[in-house]
Amino acid sequence: PHFIIQVAEEDDAICFNINEDPGTVLRLIHDPATGLTVNGEIIGDKEPSPDPKTRRTYFGRLGIANPHMDLQIEVTTETLSLGSGATRSTFSWLDTVMIAQDGMLVAIHRNENMTVSFGDGATFVIVLHQVWKKHPTHRDFLGFYVVDSHRMSAQTQGLLGQFFHPFDFSVSDVHPGSDPTKQDATMVVKNRRLTVTRGSQKDYRKKSHTGTKVPCWFVHNNGEGFIDGVHTDYIVPSLF
């Protein structure tokens, strides 16, 4: 899956990929103050490419847990289920339904997306990407967007969560890269110098089928140097 970190202060974005085997669960957000956690399980294509470099992976299952509310939300490309204590409500991506529960609001929009809001301080959107059911290679997958995180604590971690706090970066020495259609540059971030490549990724929140292009600086090697530690530090044993 690809990650996009928009840096409002710089009016720019940084992106990176995480390449891991299908079945791997990654920690995206963990706020130790509230316990709010978001994990995602990776899936691959139906017919994975034998070359690991060209293998495409996505998120196929996402789990949102809020222990303070005794709540677990599990989203797959087929179903969306909300567990509250011992009870569980299951919905399908064919539903359009709004669910209100103890200050949390979940809105499922048929075949498009699901919005989860915890009060007014944390809002996530999960986008369903559907492909032709009989496509020989590709399969449906999920996108995860953080729309609002201002109530989340400064200790929030995770592949996305660590970037909820303001950070600076600078880009210099822009020059043609090994791919003549793209430019490379030197990025200074978190006191590290990284070689990055100018590219773009897509934001599918508003246009769920075509997406909107987001220009970004791409960090190579699983976000090495940009993320805290290495990407394998974010592998967790299970969705919840």
Partner: protein, 644 residues
């Protein structure tokens, strides 16, 4: 047929076809029988059809020697005058009368001249209701003699809502096939139940066919050959006597489905995957002397089985009423394993005694639920009160209108009351009125070996509420003539159906919201209805029968008006009656307010047949048995149908 075979008393019934077409839960059934009089003299031919009580006859025609006489719908009083005139002239009459638990019997006799042919065609329509996760179409098949071409054919026509395969037949015919080696019978995907006194069908596979093709339309047919019908290889009498049951559910991709045709819409709502709302349930049980013996035993059996199914998060209590009122516990108690064990002991010791203090029992039960209601605050719990009685109140407050008033005031619209009337010696209309007035329903429990299963079955229907306070909302300026759109509870396995009319036929789209309170959260399901797209999809399927949504709307509206009429009085009742009558006449439905009359001018004199629909009250009166007892073969053909 070989000479003489299949001819009984000079009459050969050479074809009986029952065609059942279900479109989106709305069943359209046509029963056609063709017969010929092979005798040298005029003979009488009888046409008997058992149709579901919930069905409305919509047409009946007679064709004699190629001339068809259509049925005309008339207000009951008008039809009655014609009927009485016919009876006064000494002519015989058929009957529509209650027959068993689910059926009404439609009977008509016609005198057929020597060598003449007659065709009877009866059409009836019914909205199939979903219970415990399935719809059931039920037919009683009992030809009186061998029929050369006998066929029951069921077709389920799917309807598109943007998804052509949105509905499909999940099950074929499910009925145990009689098997001499097994009292229960073996089950086949398609079967036909035969009485144990008959010998088995020699080859089940030859007798039944199930066609459920991969395409959306599904067919089921039962077409026994003469060999299959014969009671023995050399017998001329038939062994066909059974129930033909088609059960199915729809492949439900989303909880709601809206269909629009010609300015009418229907909205089906049946979510699944939601947790069960915990409930407070009070059983108010009649233990008066009339319950003695089998009824009290069956009640005990049913309650014991129900106790096995009660979930730990539920609260319950038992109120027993006879001359006095006794309770198991003073308040509702949680269904913990210990409490359930105590409850079992209590139930095992229930014995009959005394008279029937129904008002006392109900008041105690309602009071207990009210206490729990007031005490539970914002807790999400569904409250249900279930009354079981086998007779009329005869101790304490016995005036039905006063009991109604007391119950209405005590419940205050907060929770539903379900009334189970055990047997026939009770005022079922009162129980029904009482239940309908309090957002519940009444159900008759038939005195039979399976009464405990009927009781238990009813409990299962209401045991799993998934939503409370369900409201179906549509834009006010776009919809009119809406059928009931709010319900106290939605139960797992059931379905809410709301129909209405679009105010503006050129409307492009509208939004249908369903709001309800679940076990842990409040939910709003939204359906964006693209009218134009749906209309287009339905145009492509016009082969089904184009105006079925309008007829479904009319059926549902009439049914609900008749229910409202049961609990209304005075001017309100008159208005409801007028509305229901107007729609029955407009849409050709034989309801308790209308009759269908077939008139054939005969030698300058009108001959009349009438099809009626009895109400539940018909069960409490003795149906007329006078017909055919004074039969004298008339000189000219005659035919009558009457309701009891």
């Amino acid at each position: 047929l070989p000479e003489g075979e299949g001819v009984v008393n000079g009459i050969e019934v050479y074809s009986t076809k029952i065609s059942c077409k279900v479109t989106s839960r709305f069943a359209h059934n046509v029963v056609t029988t063709r017969a010929v009089n092979r005798a040298d003299a005029a003979k009488e031919v009888s046409f008997d059809v058992a149709l579901p009580k919930t069905a409305f006859i919509t047409n009946f025609t007679l064709t004699i020697d190629g001339v068809t006489y259509p049925g005309n719908i008339k207000e009951k009083e008008v039809a009655k005058q014609q009927y009485e005139k016919a009876v006064s002239q000494g002519r015989t009459a058929g009957l529509v009368k209650a027959s068993g638990r689910k059926l009404e019997k439609f009977t008509v006799s016609v005198n057929v001249a020597a060598g003449s042919k007659v065709t009877f065609e009866l059409t009836y329509e019914e909205l199939l209701k979903r219970r415990k996760g399935k719809y059931e179409m039920y037919l009683k098949v009992q030809p009186k003699q061998l029929v050369k071409h006998f066929e029951v054919r069921g077709t389920r026509c799917p309807v598109g809502s943007g998804s052509p395969a949105g509905s499909r037949l999940l099950c074929g015919v499910q009925a145990p096939l009689w098997d001499p080696g097994s009292p229960v019978g073996s089950r086949l995907p398609c079967g036909f139940r035969l009485p144990s006194s008959s010998r088995p069908v020699r080859s089940a596979q030859e007798a039944e066919q199930v066609h459920v093709p991969p395409r959306p339309q599904g067919h089921v047919s039962f077409k026994p050959s003469l060999e299959h019908q014969r009671s023995c290889p050399t017998c001329a009498d038939t062994l066909l006597n059974g129930d033909f049951i088609i059960t199915y559910d729809v492949n439900r991709e989303s909880p709601a489905n809206v269909q629009v045709v010609n300015g009418y819409f229907v909205h089906f709502f049946a979510p699944h995957g939601l947790p069960v709302v915990p409930k407070n349930v009070v059983f108010v049980i009649d233990i008066s002397g009339s319950m003695a013996g089998r009824k009290i035993e069956q009640t005990r059996d049913a309650l014991l089985k129900i106790l096995d199914d009660i979930k730990e998060e539920d609260y319950l209590n038992f109120i027993l009423f006879s001359t006095g009122v006794t309770t198991w516990k003073d308040t509702l108690v949680q269904a913990t394993p210990e409490n359930l064990q105590q409850a079992r002991e209590f139930v095992k010791n229930i014995n009959d005694e005394g008279m029937t203090n129904m008002n006392g029992g109900l008041m105690r039960g309602i009071g207990m639920l009210n206490e729990a209601w007031d005490g539970q605050g914002a807790a999400r719990r569904s409250s249900i009160i279930i009354l079981l009685t086998d007779g009329d109140a005869n101790y304490g407050e016995s005036r039905t209108d006063k009991i109604q008033e007391n119950v209405r005031n005590a419940i205050g619209g907060k929770f539903p009351l379900y009334n189970l009337g055990f047997g026939n010696n009770l005022n079922y209309n009162f129980l029904e009125r009482l239940a309908l007035e309090n957002h519940g329903l009444a159900r008759r429990i038939y005195e039979d070996s399976d009464a405990h299963l009927q009781l238990q079955g009813f409990y299962e229907e209401v045991a799993n509420p998934l939503l409370m306070g369900v409201e179906m909302e549509y834009p006010e300026n776009a919809i009119q003539d809406l059928t009931q759109n709010n319900y106290k509870n939605f139960y797992d396995g059931s379905e809410i159906v709301v129909a209405g009319r679009l105010l503006d036929q050129d409307l492009n789209s509208f939004k249908a919201d369903v709001k309800g309170h679940g076990a842990v959260n409040d939910l709003t399901f939204t359906e964006e209805v693209d009218v134009k797209e749906l209309e287009k999809a339905f145009e492509e399927q016009s082969y089904i029968f184009g105006n079925y949504i309008e007829r479904l709307w009319a059926y549902l509206t009439i049914e609900q008006l008749l229910d409202q009429r049961k609990k209304a009085q005075g001017e309100e009742k008159e208005n409801l009656t007028a509305k229901a009558l107007g729609l029955s006449l407009k849409y050709n439905f034989v309801t308790p307010l209308t009759s269908m009359v077939v008139t054939k001018p005969e030698d300058g004199e009108s001959q009349t047949a009438i099809a009626d629909k009895p109400g539940e009250e018909a069960n409490t009166v003795t149906p007329s048995m006078a017909y055919l007892t004074n039969y004298q073969p008339p000189q000219t053909p005659y035919y009558y149908v009457d309701g009891d």
